[in-house]
Symmetry: C2
Subunit: 353 residues, 2 copies
């Protein structure tokens, strides 16, 4: 154990900046005023540098929805009961959840990965069983998981990503499901970004004011009890994390190692990218931030990682719903680079001197 993680991290290199100039030259030669496609042009260049190809291909798309339960749910910090994690996994498998609708819309595969749901599932080709344990321990009383489990969660994420990459998928989005996971995400964000708990805590799926105050107290207690090392991503994950968050961090590391763009969703996914960044900062160059979530901690993390979200739809659902739209926009950006006519080929006059 640990070999997979070590080898993956070792493989992560900085994207190639030399290609950026060539990509810009190509974009400037397309039939449009220079720079007039704004973020589309930036995105296209990012995918060029990630993939190392001036004509990157995005045609096989997947959303990895990673699920896990949280011991801290017993503190009543969520508006929904813990069994909703399991019920929503079944909903994903039946195709009725928001992420299923949006993945069909963008023609992407939904792959559900069980990292630690507190229930057993029947075998299902759409469900990848990578269960580390049936939920984490309650972080108010001690570590969410032990160090070996944290590493296993990270490696499970890497393996899930590699499985898709081996099957030809060339862009991967991350999604999450886990009742209680905004609570642990706020704990992680507060520790790693070194900001007050209040600055990174929101109302999750919709608790009331009293529940919100309680949530903040619980996060503070969990950090105090566990005292995680902010510079050690594995330590933070083990002490105040969650299995699905470790899985998402693993997906980010796996995609970075294989030079595949990874589109993150909202708050929980960004916390996964944050853990990945703490383990290997270069991994963040492979991350595309899709949307800006209603959860206030999300913006703090994106700023910390130097990522600029593509859009803000006032969403706070998770599952990869924002990331699905992010895939679609990234695909469009790449098509612009690959398919547009040049001034020369179209016989269009260039700018006046």
């Amino acid at each position: 154990m640990m070999e997979k993680l070590k080898n993956t991290v070792r493989k992560i290199k900085l994207p190639d900046p030399a290609l950026l100039e060539l990509a810009q030259a190509r974009l400037d030669n397309l039939t449009k005023p220079q720079g007039s496609l704004g973020r589309f042009e930036e995105l296209a260049k990012q995918v060029v540098s990630i993939t190392g190809s001036l004509s990157p291909v995005i045609n096989k798309k997947a959303v990895l929805v990673i699920a896990g339960d949280h011991g801290v749910a017993e503190e009543g910090i969520s508006a929904y009961p813990q069994k909703v994690t399991m019920q929503m996994v079944l909903n994903f498998l039946k195709g009725g959840a928001a992420i299923n609708v949006l993945a069909r819309h963008i023609n992407a595969e939904v792959q559900v990965v069980d990292l630690g749901v507190a229930a057993e599932f029947k075998p299902n080709p759409k469900l990848l069983d990578k269960k580390v344990a049936r939920g984490t321990n309650n972080i108010v009383n001690g570590s969410a998981m032990n160090r070996e489990q944290a590493i296993r969660a990270l490696e499970a994420g890497i393996e899930a990503a590699e499985r898709m990459i081996e099957n030809g998928y060339n862009i991967i989005a991350t999604g999450d499901m886990g009742i209680g996971n905004t609570t642990v995400s706020s704990a992680i964000a507060s520790v790693i970004c070194k900001v007050k708990v209040e600055e990174v805590t929101g109302t999750g799926t919709g608790i009331d004011q009293e529940g919100f105050k309680r949530k903040i107290e619980i996060i503070k207690t969990a950090i105090q009890v566990n005292n995680p090392d902010p510079c050690n991503g594995i330590d933070v994950l083990a002490k105040v994390g969650g299995f699905e968050i470790g899985g998402i961090a693993g997906v980010v590391l796996g995609c970075a190692a294989h030079r595949i763009p990874v589109v993150i969703d909202g708050f929980i996914s960004s916390v996964g990218a944050l853990i990945a960044n703490t383990i290997e900062p270069k991994s963040s160059h492979y991350v595309i931030a899709s949307h800006s979530s209603v959860e206030k901690g999300h913006r703090v993390i994106l700023d910390y990682l130097g990522l600029k979200p593509l859009f803000d739809f006032d969403m706070r659902l998770g599952e990869g719903t924002g990331a699905a739209i992010g895939i679609n926009i990234t695909e469009a950006a790449v098509k612009i680079l690959n398919e547009m006519a040049t001034f020369n080929s179209a016989g269009v006059s260039e700018k006046n001197e």
Copy 2:
């Protein structure tokens, strides 16, 4: 003449607010925390009220790219020569422009409409010939067009929209092509929104600082020379407008009359919607604002019309490029409403009491 316009305007009613509550009830029953899909939910409700259907269908999509030339181009207010309008129309017909790439990406038809290009084209099934004249007059010296031509431009837009609607298209995006059209758009925005020219004028396709100052002076002169009546959309269009802008206004009116959602692009399209609003304010309820353009006047117009753009990609190209993405997002919103499972059907527990 004028009958078409009058009849169309008469048909425009306010969307049905009664359906909004039913749509909200349906959205609240889907397997997600209430309101957690943010703008997607707002958009779905808007389409319900526009179409009058609780299960609206969006499956046949079109982008109407409306082209026209501008006499004021001879003042050198654009970074590109006038012939680029004609050359870009040919590029649209050959499928090499940004709008072609994005329309293919979202599986929409591109229909080019010649409202007033200063060139002749060979017949082409993808080009609808609605030419009013070969370009407008230079607005620095007098009216862009006469009143009859303004009405003809509006009716041409209505006819173009109706042709698509008769062929089963159930969402229409507007796009523009016309060298010099940010200049006339700024003039229209300044007059109707009653703001200073400086507040609604940008650098268009990319003129330098000297050219920018000149552009502002020319717009001020044009408004002074023509003295358009801000309360009369036809008068403003005739005096300081453009054929493609009249066409876009007509498309908005035509879609509103037929209860079809119309997705507008950036600055120029919003000016079309502004003319439509001045003729019939109820038309704006049928408009979905896609993106927020780099052109500063765009935000002023959207605020004036009470429209909130979906995203901001720092774009300033036109052609309907932002609106194509807007169609795609609207389609996703409608699918969420139509295809997601309910708590009951999926067996998912509802919120804790």
